[in-house]
Structures are given as C-alpha cells and as structure tokens.
Amino acid sequence: MPDASIAAHSGSFSVAVTGSGGSGAVTTGLILLEAAAHAGYFGMLSRSAGPQIRGGESAAMLRLGPAPLACMDDRFDLLVGLDWLNIARFIDEIPLDRDSLVLADPAAGTVPAVLTQSGARVREVPFKELAGSVADGRANMVALGALAAAGGFPQDALLAGLNAVLAGKGDRVRQASSQCLTLGYEQGIETLPRAAGAARHPVARWNISGNEACGLGALRGGIRFVAAYPITPASEILEWLAPRLEQVGGSLLQAEDELASINMIIGASFGGVPALTATSGPGLSLMTEGLGLAVASETPLTVIDVMRGGPSTGIPTKSEQVDLNIALYGLHGDAPHLVLAPLTISDCVFTTQWAVQLAEHLQTVAVVLSDQLLGQSRTISPPPPNLELPLVRRTLDTPDETYRRYAPSADGVSPMTVPGTPHGMYTADGLEHNQRGTPSSRASDHLEHLDKRLHKITAHDFGAHWAEMSGDGEIALLTWGSSSGAVREAAARLEAAGASVRVVALRLLMPLQSDALRDALAGCSRVWVIEQNHGRQLFHYLKSFDALPSDAHSLARPGPLPLRPGDIVAALTEEA
C-alpha cells in the first residue's frame, strides 16, 4: 500500500482553545467558528469537557478550511491555553508537533512539559494583563484576538462573530469584548504558514450542531410531542426543541425518568401525534421494555440515542459508538424495528427526519444512533437538503363496525384509527393479540403477528438512503455513523497516495440491507470494517448476516479519543 501518512488534508487549519471549565474556552471557540463562517470558511468545532460543570477541564477544538470538512484533523496548528490547570486530562485529544504554535499567558505559569515535548513553539501573550486594562475585559477575548492574528482571520469577521455569539449579552459586554479582541489582534503575532487566509465563499452555509440538527430533523419529520429526561450529551436536543415545539403547535413534557418518557411518547403516538424522545445509553437501557411494547402494539415512535462512553455512567462527556448492540438486540422477544445512524453533523437533520417518517409509515420503533461527537459539535456547512419524503402514517378516518386494527395487508401495515374516530375503537395491547387486538395466546395468532411485524419492515423499499458510497476501488472501507467523516478523509488521503479505495458508510443498520451491501462490496480485494468501539459491534453484526467476505478486517478503536483519519491510514498501511 502506498504511504499516505504525509498526504495530510491540505488547506485546513486546526486550533484548540483550552482552559478550566468556566474560563470561556468554549465561548472563544464558538465566536471563532461564527467568525470563520462570516469570513467564508467551512469548518467544524468539537468540544471536550470533563464531568464537572465548573472548575473541570474544557476545550474547543476547531478545524477550518475552504471546503466542507467532516472530521477533525490528526494534529493542531495552534493551541491557545487560557490556563494550564487541567491540561493533562485532555492533552491526548490535542496532538501537537514541531509546526504547531502554543499561545500562552505567562501569568498562567510555565507551559507544561507535556506540551513542549512535542516540539511546538511557544509564544507568550499576557492575556490577563491586557484584559485588565479594559473595564470588564476578559482574558479569553484577548486570546481570541491573538489566535485570529496567528490564524490569518480578518478582524472584521471576528467582530461579526463576536456580535453574533454575544448578541444576548448587552452592549457593555460586547464593547469590552471587542476592545480585548482588538488588543490581542494587535500584539504583532506572525501569521502561521498554514493559516487559512482570506477566503470569501458566497455560497449559503449553516452553523448548526448535531443535537440541533436532530431536533430540526424531528420537526421536519412531523414530531409534535417529546417526553424526555435530561441526560448528557442529549439534553441540548431537548433544550432546543422545548420552545420550538411550542412555536409549531407541539409540546415537550419533562418526564420523571426514562421509563416514563418512553411510555409518554407511546401514549401521544397512540393519540395520533408523532412522538419522540432523546437520551443516551443508560436511558436507552431503561426504555427497552417500552420499545418492546411499541413494537408489539405497532405504535410508531422514534428514540434518539446520543451515544457516550460506556458501560454504566462510563465517560458521559465523550464520544463512543457503543450502543449499536443494545439498539439492535436490546429488546425482549422477537421485536423487529429500525436502527439508523447519521453520518455527519448536518446529516443528523435528514437521518432523524427519515427515521421519524419511516417509524410513522411502518408503525414501528426507530432508534437513531447519534453520538457526543456529532451531537455537541458544530459545523459550518452547506444547508442540509430539505427532502419531501412520501412516508406518512396510514390512518383511517371513516372505519365501519368491522374495523380490525391489526388486519392483514399486502405490505404488513394496517391503517390505524386515532382516538376520537367513531367506530374505530380498539385496545392497543402489549399482549399478543388477534387481528382485532383482542389478547390471544394462540400459536397461530402469535405466528401471524410475528410475521406481520417483520414483513412490514423487511418488505419496505428503503431506496438509496441506506448508505452513502463513494469510490470504486478494490479496498473497501465500511463504516457507520459518526466514524464516516474520518473514514472518508482517510480514503481521500489513500487515493491521493495512489491507492484504490471505496467507502461504504451505513445509515440504515436495521434492517440490514444485506443484498445491497454485498453488491456494494463486490470486487473488493480487502474489506475493512471501521468503528469507534472496543467490542467490534458492527463487525460482528455484519458477520452474523454473512454480509462480509471471510477475510474482512476489523478496525475498532474505543473512545474517548476521536477516530482520526491518520489512525485509519496508519492501520491500513501497516497491514498492507
């Protein structure tokens, strides 16, 4: 295999801002991202936080460039340290090298050896002292000015970003912040060679997080009721949705626990209102009994799981693709359902919308596996396409006395009546039932309805959305969900180095599109299954369906470190 290790993505610029929780590191990053957007860049921001709300560690990590970006780079050009109190906790997440620059405040003490060992240069800027010269001045805003100069970002874009992010803070704060920013900008810091430079792109772009994108996808899919219990890193979906659901005529109910939230959305959906909940791994575990009830009673609903490190409380603030197994297999009984995973931050919009509409159309459960990396990161990218999907719940408005809720049909989907519809009365039941819905333990009723609930899902034509594919090379990189970004960039680097690669990124995991997958892998000399977990969950799932060649390779890395394109290139190069 050709050596692609040095063919790093050119033209992008990566910067990290670190500090203790409450130091303003994330705000600094958010302003820079907005500023870069104003200056015409694409990019993304991911965040790293400790479990503490204040006084822990926090970092904003950005990658900016002239074209859309789907993952973080292998290294950082610039690190801005607001203080060094907890740097050891997350330095692994910010690889530096000889070409990197560290901007440091001498008042924060000596730059720790863990940073200087990388060979990175250090440039001191007295953030705190300079901020002290401005009434209500803040050190992080001085640092923002300094990093903007080092990164080659135009000052007017920075001010626009600042005014946008601090819009709610009042004139006084914005004025002090822009004075500090200017002070930092004027410290005579040389612009780095890899700096982004001025780039004006007139194309439309959005600044959106994965959690907001899931919320928007839910609304576009028709969700008008949400019940949920707070959990990191899913809460932002709920916080974004609560006021906006109200604006579009829906509502959010904060439940007493996840057992309640799943059953509340079952109730609302039974009432004819498309319903959703969002949670993370431990919450999904609590919900699985309810998911079985929704499958058995054929009540449509959608659950978004923003995955985090596990098991148990695990690493709740960091990303890991670890809930595939429970999403696939966690339900009791034979309970066919849908499992999907968004591939990028902005794809959270489409994948959630598709999941909701599939659940409605097929009267079943859809689980959407987002994760902390997608959910709490922001992207500057082209607006996600707004697709009209012809998938709606089949209802019956004028049933007669012979109505049977679970009557057989060619595609296995039976029209539902909604409470309030005369002559459509039925009792939805978690007990096995006959076509009317009357409880039944007869073998024939059980088999008929097991078949029905499976058939309606497997017989559905999912079209081309089941995966995103690129390239036609003989080495296949097969992945799912959030790992897709790093895999796509690794593929690009390998191609640039002369390898022949294709990428298959799975959006629909259950039901597995085995035949389409075999076609997609036809002619490959080597298949790599790439995912961010320890248990090779996707690899084993695909094996169980005999969907992989017998010599397929698994590349599985657990969190909390993000899967980087360079790691993938290195692993593949080593094996070749």
């Binding site: 609304l219 604006q247 579009v248 109910l253 109730g267 209102v273 309030g420 039925y426 009792t427 009357t438």
Partner: protein
C-alpha cells in the same frame, strides 16, 4: 368536559365490549367495570372520546372490556402513557385503571409525579392487597403480618403503603375511597372523579376471592368517613391518618392549576431554520 352524546343516548351496556372478562367468579373488579360503564353513560360521553389506559395485572385488563379506545401497556407505566396521550390530545377523556402492585410498587414513581402534574385525568386503583395475576404475592398495601405468600413466609414486615396519604402529599387534587361492594356509591364517585378538572384518584377496595378470601368480610368493615371534605389538605391529612383504612367517600377535593400545554402553532419550521443561516 365533552359535549353530550348524540341521540339516542347510550346506555351503560352500550359501553361494554363483547369480550368476556378473565376475572375469577366473585371478583370485585366486575363491580368496577359496571360502575365505569354506568358513569360513562351518566356523563353521556361519546365512546370514541374516551381512552382507557392500563398497565399489567388483573384489574389492568379493564380496557378490553369497555367499548372505547384503550391501551393495555406494560407493568406500572399506565400513568405515563396517559400523561403523553392527554398532553397530545387534551380533547379526550382519559381514564387509567390498575391495581395496587401496578400503581404503588412498580409504578410508584409515576404515581407521585402524576399527582403533582395534576393533569385532567382519572386514576381508578382496584386495591385487593395482593398480586393476583402472579398468584398471590404481597403487594405494597398488604398488611405486614400476612404470611400466605411463599415469597414472604414471615409476612412483609413492612408498613403498608397509604395511597390516599401519598396522593395528598404528592399534590393530587381529588381523592376518594370507594368499595366494589357498594356499586351505586362507586358510580357516583367515579362520575365526580371524571368531572373534576385535574388529577383524581379513586381508590377502590376491590376484594380478591381467590387469594384473599378473608376480604369477604370487608362489607362488614367499611364505613363512611366521619366528617366531610373541606378542601383543606391539613384536615384531609388528619382524616386519612385517623382512619382505619376502611372509611369510604370523598377525602379531598381542590381546584388547582391543571398542567396542559396549549399546542397552538405561532410559527413555522421554515421560520425556525433561519437561526442557522450564516
């Protein structure tokens, strides 16, 4: 409250489904079923405007026996299903039926929060102080010295759960105790419970003939509350705690804000998306 039924007026038997109950002969729940159909007929509620929600247990089988919309869910979660339904569909009359194990043990947390949410719904708990469907284990309302379950051969040794006291403390706005041996009074209480705007708990003493045959004596032990409801939670608490658990009638009724979102759109999704545009 919904509009009166169209003519001809529905009678109690019109609300009965054609499904035969699985209950044992002599089960107290038959009287609750009868009271429910009579109350619905008295109120003239259109069948399709009523949703009856339940969990798991003998009493939770009730929805299938009434000709309305119903949801027979999983153990302990009926109040959560009902809360979601009522939030999304405030136009429906939402009733919840269940037993002492379903409501006070596995569903205990939902019971507390349903009380404090004070949504407009009616919770009928058929209390027979035993898990009947799993063949006779102690429930939260079983007396501590009851030794007839193999699972608790020395009795539970724990004090009994006090449904009315818990409901009052948690914020329920209408609480009463009925008895399946007094069906006409039970019907009257159920009508009042449904009419109450807010969360109403109708705690029904409903004997189990199979696992608690001694409950046949309940008809000699029940008695009316000595004084009447005042709407004062302090007086209601005193009434509950001074009682032997067999007093019947209204315990507490109060009008407090009902939780119910309006579900009226003021904007469009397209307008919301503007926040993301750079």
């Amino acid at each position: 409250m919904n509009a009166p039924a169209t003519t001809p007026a529905l009678r109690a038997k019109d609300y009965k489904s054609d499904i035969k109950p699985i209950w044992c002969p002599g089960c107290g729940h038959f009287a609750v079923l009868a009271a429910a159909t009579k109350a619905l007929a008295h109120l003239g509620l259109p069948k399709e405007q009523v949703a009856l929600i339940s969990g798991i247990g003998c009493s939770s089988r009730l929805p299938a026996y009434i000709d309305s919309y119903g949801f027979h869910g999983v153990h302990g979660r009926a109040l959560a299903v009902a809360a979601g339904l009522k939030t999304a569909r405030p136009d429906l009359t939402v009733l919840i039926a269940g037993g002492d194990g379903d409501g006070f043990s596995i569903g205990g947390n939902h019971f507390l929060h349903a009380c404090r949410r004070n949504m407009d719904m009616t919770y009928i708990v058929m209390d027979n102080e035993v898990y009947g469907m799993t063949k006779g284990q102690a429930s939260p309302t079983t007396a501590p010295e009851w030794t007839h379950s193999k699972m608790t051969p020395h009795g539970t040794g724990m004090r009994r759960f006090q449904p009315a006291a818990m409901a009052l403390a948690a914020g329920a706005t209408w609480i009463a105790r009925g008895f399946s041996g007094d069906p006409s009074e039970l019907t009257r209480l159920l009508v009042e419970a449904i009419q109450h705007p807010g969360f109403s708990l109708l705690h029904v003493l409903s004997p189990c003939q199979t696992f608690r045959p001694e409950q046949k004596q309940w008809k000699e032990q029940v008695h009316p509350f000595a004084d009447s409801n005042t709407g004062d939670p302090v007086a209601a608490a005193q009434r509950i705690h001074a009682d032997d658990g067999m007093a019947l009638g209204l315990i507490y009724a109060n009008h407090l804000p009902v939780w119910q979102p309006r579900n009226q759109a003021t904007s469009s999704i397209a307008a919301l998306e503007e926040e993301f545009r750079v």
